[in-house]
Amino acid sequence: MGTAYINITMELPRVTAQPIEYRTPADREYTAGFVLRQDRLGNLSMKRAWKVDCIAVTKAQYDAIIAVLDAVGWNQVPFWCDELGGTPAANSITAWVEIDADERAQFQDVAWESMGRNLSFRVVEQ
């Protein structure tokens, strides 16, 4: 369905779903007189967060993804998905990438994959 990369060159395989959230860094609350008011963080623009689901990830692909995230200490990495336009090298944004769900799955790829995975990533724009 979609295409997504982390760290410029590491493709997240077989992306099946990619819902997006928009987050305004704002303090929005009702006053004692029940009037809604808002303070927005002026230095920051709207932030996006994606949920990226990948199915039928081979063990080799899975290990490579984990290795990339391990290498940066699970901190921010460049992230690109096709809706950002351009290329991963030129148009990646910085984001935190976490694995929300990690489910073992068996499927037929080039060969029978007995240690495959279905993965769900949570990507939050810095």
């Binding site: 987050r23 007189g33 927005r40």
Partner: protein, 444 residues
């Protein structure tokens, strides 16, 4: 009096930490997760022997680490900790730190004049790295920390027989201990003269605070709009401020989220006696009372012994001190806590009028005795930018500080005579030397 807080605002933040060269500043705003600035607490003034640390502003803040470039001071490979290729930790003892905010209309960029300092101080009290390496937590104190950490190593005598103004003595103590760069700001002289003062075995800060507390004045770093800086300020708390001269009017529609009210008569004292030594060294006393308070709550006396009045040697000075204590203690305290949108201008001793139909049928006046500003940006991007105010029914200079001075058995004698005011017992025995020992004769 200030008007309402707008219902829709943009808040801009600026967090900077200084390099040791004193001129290079590093912008850490984008890594800020939370910051909390506490502006003193005159109701519970401080810790330690002098009980004055509470007038020092504190800031704690948490930074999200910058990926492999950690803010952890001992990471000698992080770009943040390298200057010219040499390991120079950014977060380290005595590094200056500044937090500013600017509030604008939605979408507007802040102008230079919009920025307000919430804090200017130095790091060092605590720099803590989380075990997962994701965050670094820091605690900083305002510029008073440098005076707190300067020990008076040489005892000097201050004052003369004729008396030297207390603000002059304070500046002399700063100058004599390496802090001539700190110029005491005293807009109005207290008119109090020091005749004899030898600070010893204390910090510069404690020596200064001892003088301030004996005249019931405030000494601490306060923002001065004229010089656009925090200045060491000696001032009389504006105890006469009232609804007519209040600084802020808060309404429930726009200006606060929560408002709680708590009343207590525990701290009332309405007959204050100050014991002091006159020029001849004799113990004298002065008592002031408040008839209205006594009629309302009964007579609740308090004495202050000579150990807390060592700079006082005239009835006039003792009366001034007694009146300051009486003004702060004679009324029942109605303490309110207000949680409101970030209001950077809120400061100690501000007067506020609160319209709160749920807790009072009238618009009530309060004097601010502690302020906490906090900004928090959680991992999901949610923001909290608030000011929390603790205030009491009028502006007070101190409360716990006065109560700590109260004479009581075993801790705060009226005089500094080791036997207090009680004459030592007449010996009823005779001890005399005898061969190979002593002879004790008990007198019947």
């Amino acid at each position: 009096m200030s008007t309402l807080i707008p219902r829709d605002r943009d808040i801009h933040i600026n967090l900077q930490v200084g390099r040791p060269d004193g001129i290079t500043w590093v912008d850490l705003t984008r890594y800020l997760k939370s910051a909390r600035v506490s502006l003193g607490d005159v109701i519970d003034v401080g810790t330690g022997n002098q009980g004055v640390d509470g007038v020092v502003r504190k800031m704690s803040f948490t930074l999200r680490n910058d990926g492999p470039n950690s803010f952890a001071p001992k990471d000698q490979t992080s770009a943040w900790n390298l200057v010219g290729g040499n390991w120079t930790p950014l977060l380290w003892s005595n590094r200056e730190v500044i937090l500013q905010v600017a509030i604008t209309d939605p979408g507007a960029a802040p102008l230079a004049g919009d920025w307000v300092y919430l804090f200017h101080g130095v790091l060092g009290e605590s720099i803590r790295c989380s075990s997962d390496g994701a965050e670094v937590f820091c605690e900083a104190s305002d510029l008073a920390r440098r005076l707190q950490r300067t020990w008076i190593e040489t005892a000097r005598t201050y004052g003369t027989e004729e008396g030297v103004p207390v603000e002059t003595v304070m500046q002399q103590i700063l100058n004599d201990n390496g802090w001539s760069s700190v110029v005491l700001y005293c807009p109005v002289s207290p008119g109090f003269n020091v005749t004899h003062y030898i600070p010893e075995f204390v910090s510069v800060w404690d020596a200064l605070q001892k003088m301030a507390s004996q005249i019931g004045w405030y000494l601490g770093y306060r923002w001065d709009a004229g010089t656009s800086s925090f200045r060491l300020t000696l001032m009389e708390p504006p105890r006469t401020k009232d609804a007519g001269s209040a600084d802020f009017m808060l309404t429930e529609d726009d200006d606060y989220y929560k408002h709680e009210l708590d009343m207590s008569d525990d701290a009332i004292r309405n007959a204050i006696t100050i014991y002091y030594k006159d020029a001849a060294g004799a113990v004298q006393s002065v008592t002031v009372t408040d008839a209205a308070s006594i009629a309302e709550y009964g007579r609740l006396p308090m004495g202050v012994g000579v150990s807390d009045t060592s700079l006082i040697n005239t009835a006039e000075e003792a009366t001034d001190m007694a009146n300051a204590a009486l003004a702060d203690l004679k009324d029942q305290t109605s303490t309110t806590r207000i949680n409101m949108p970030l209001l950077p201008e809120m400061d100690l001793f501000a007067g506020i009028v609160v319209e709160s139909p749920r807790t009072s049928s009238t618009n009530d006046f309060y004097g601010v005795m502690s302020v906490e500003h906090y900004i928090q940006i959680d991992d999901d991007g949610r923001l909290q930018a608030r000011t929390e105010v603790t205030a009491t029914g009028k502006v007070i200079g101190a409360r716990a500080q006065w109560l700590r001075m109260q004479t009581r058995p075993g801790a705060k004698p009226v005089t500094d005579d080791p036997f207090g005011t009680v004459a030592p017992p007449t010996p009823n025995f005779v001890l005399s030397a005898a061969i190979r020992g002593l002879t004790l004769d008990i007198i019947a």
